[in-house]
């Protein structure tokens, strides 16, 4: 108790990230501080998940440069640090997109992550809401320098609901933390080491738990996908709506996003915040149970609240959803008031995603004609 009081009386820490100064509570990580600013200043995170204790530090995409450790000790940190696991100090100066070292290292990490990742986005269910896709889009290079055979894994069946596609995995360990922290017994983990490390049950057993489905939502790539939704539709053709139901499971929050087409419920997921993480309600992450996720696939099972607001810098936010909230742009602030020069407008280059076409207003799936008719 004495500890808590002490914490509250502690003054907030001033931290400067990419020329933007904010105040945060002591103990906040650099990444979470950057998230309060939002926009381009926030480092990407592939393995960190604020709702999962112990996650982070592994993927190295969130590396940032600390130009000054604190007011008391203004020496810079010798190496780039993982912003998701480094807490801020008062007077810390952090460089993310304003540091060439960071950009160089991040481009390296993206290349490493994509080295053995199959670029099978056209047939991957995660496409459109894949964090690796976003990362590659924002920070990647146009081609790979890897000229050897890519790593593949044998398919493994882990039960009727979840599809494990190990070849796509980037070993963020998030799903193991879900199993550790949400379910009563973890039945899967990492086997083997190095390049051959794989997510697996020991050995080839099914994962059977009421909350195992949340693994799908935390997976940043298409390594864990929903078997009941597999190959049924592309995410950008379905319309997300917020819905809830009174779930009998006391640990299930019952608040979900339904992905609809017409009146048909194609998929049920947790509601996600702008960082692609599950939303919290009263400080409690809104995980959902497998019954809600896999079995309630009719609109009568649900009370529909309205269209989901999508506010993410992501491939999916290109989808012209109804209720799309464009995330705040910080680049002008970072550049000290100057406007950036736009090098390329996507609409000058590409026929898809015409600004005049609104997917949510279409009856039925979009088709290449939809875009061509605009001409």
């Amino acid at each position: 108790m004495a500890d808590e009081i002490k914490k509250e009386t502690l003054a907030n820490f001033k931290v400067t990230i990419d020329n933007i100064t904010i105040e945060v509570k002591p103990g906040t990580t650099i990444l979470n501080a950057a998230r309060t600013i939002g926009g381009d200043v926030t480092p990407p995170a592939m393995c960190y998940y604020s709702k999962l204790q112990g996650s982070g530090g592994k993927c190295r995409t969130c590396l940032v440069e600390v130009a000054a450790g604190s007011t008391a000790d203004p020496r810079p940190m010798p190496k780039l640090v993982a912003s998701c696991r480094t807490t801020v100090m008062d007077g810390m100066i952090v460089k993310n997109i304003t540091s060439d070292k960071v950009k160089d290292a991040r481009a390296g990490v993206v290349e490493f992550l994509l080295l053995n990742h199959p670029l099978d986005c056209p047939i991957c269910d995660q496409a459109g809401e894949c964090h690796l896709q976003d990362l590659g889009y924002e920070h990647g290079k146009e081609g790979t320098r890897y000229e050897f055979t890519r790593r593949t894994f044998e398919k493994e069946d882990i039960g009727p609901y979840i599809q494990l596609h190990m070849t796509r995995c980037i070993l963020c360990y998030r799903c193991t933390y879900v199993a550790d922290q949400l379910t009563d017994k973890r039945s899967h983990g990492i086997l083997d080491r190095g390049e051959h490390a794989e997510i697996s049950t020991y050995i080839s057993k099914a994962i059977d738990n009421d909350f195992s489905g949340n693994m799908i939502d935390v997976c940043p790539v298409g390594a864990l996908t929903d078997k009941t939704y597999r190959f049924k539709n592309r995410v950008w053709f379905t319309k997300p709506v917020d819905a809830h139901r009174n779930c009998e499971n006391p640990d299930c929050c019952g608040k979900t996003t339904l992905w609809l087409r017409g009146d048909e419920v194609f998929r049920v997921t947790v509601r996600k915040d702008p960082w692609g993480e599950v939303q919290s309600y009263d400080g409690k992450p809104g995980w959902i149970c497998n019954t809600c996720r896999f079995d309630k696939k009719k609109t009568i099972d649900w009370v529909i609240e309205g269209v989901t607001k999508i506010s993410r810098h992501s491939v999916i936010s290109q989808g012209r959803y109804e209720g799309l909230v464009i995330p705040k742009d910080t680049i002008v602030e970072v550049m000290g008031g100057r406007s950036p020069r736009l090098l390329m407008d996507i609409h000058d280059e590409s026929e898809v995603n015409k600004p005049g076409v609104h997917l949510s207003e279409l009856n039925g799936p979009a088709h290449s004609d939809t875009f061509n008719n605009g001409q």
């Binding site: 530090g57 592994k58 190496k79 992550l113 080491r193 190095g194």
Partner: protein
Amino acid sequence: MAKKLLLDKADVSGIRTYEVYRREGGYRSVEKALKMSTADIVEEVKKSGLRGRGGAGFPTGMKWSFLAKPEGIARYLVCNADESEPGTFKDRYLMEFIPHLLIEGMIVASFALGSNNSYIYIRGEYAWITDILETAIAEARQNGFLGKNILGSGFDCEMYVQRGAGAYICGEETALIESLEGKRGNPRIKPPFPAIKGLWDCPTVVNNVETLAAVVPIINEGGEEYAKIGVGKSTGTKLISACGNINKPGIFEIDMTISVEEFIFSDEYCGGIPNGKRLKACIPGGSSVPILPANLLLTTAKGEKRLMNYESLSDGGFATGSMMGSGGFIVLDEDQCVVRNTMTLARFYHHESCGQCSPCREGTGWMERILKKIENGKGEMKDIDLLWDIQRKIEGNTICPLGDAAAWPVAAAIRHFRDEFEWHVLNPEKCLTENFGLRHYADPIHVPVTA
């Protein structure tokens, strides 16, 4: 003959047993230390200037004084005997032939740090040494040096030997702690450092075998006496495990004042290179430190003689120097191929990467494949630059030092032996049957005279 502190009794017959070890003056340091205050012991070790013998060379006394000492929370001492660095086998010798020296050092260190349960985490492949150590621990307990109320001082200490399962990564201190706790040996993200949160989230000190053994002469003779041996910040004696193209491979205890040239060519140590071959290159401190060509190995870039100590070996930084590392001294003669050597090392790091963070997991395999390509005469010039770029992107961007350890050998090989790599690319058929040879690698370095 240089003064020996660790191995002076190594040749006494039966030194492995308690009776002989005790007769030869063993366990004197425990008797002395238990009468001292713990702060005085730490002060003695600080005065000695002892640096960690595992590779990083961090001052041991400093490490000990960093240990957090919260009330009512246990503290642990863990001995890192997971000696898996290619070229390093000094701890094996120490534990196999003088196990009581390690145990004696550990009792003193446990007392100084307040560790009532101390662990020796030993490499899985050293199966027979586990038995030797356990026998020695049992002997020490029988004679009252372990267990409850040691020598009537009121200090309790138990010691356990835990075998690893054969992973190099478990030599990294936080991975070692994870493995010791029974988990997968993945390095932890630092901070918090083990001195604050280590084994079972309690303050922990992890020390190398040789470091803990060196505590014995420090207590016996006093820290200041110990510091008189050696030069500058390289105090005391160091065990070097020499191997490769030399006449007398094995373990040597050196005081750190001799030159590299003397170490390789004198009969007291390595005894020169067999079959009249010439020296081409050397990895002076275990596989992960940068390789040096003969000319830079024997003299620094400033033209001074290079000595076998921490400062001199790292003189010139990575541009023209290397590191003392763990003391695995690997000598390559003129018939050795640096490309092949680098490929072997890259294969090792690829095999041993834990796979937790992406640069090391993906990068080590990539480097090995490219090196294999070059070694097999299928390389292109751009591959050399690509290798450089990959190592640059691994180094410093990983959770633990294994990423750096994988990057440095490749970086140094390209830095100093780039023409050998290029020769492999330009002579794709010749490189399969012939070696590049010595060429200019032993030529004297031109040192411009200051006006």
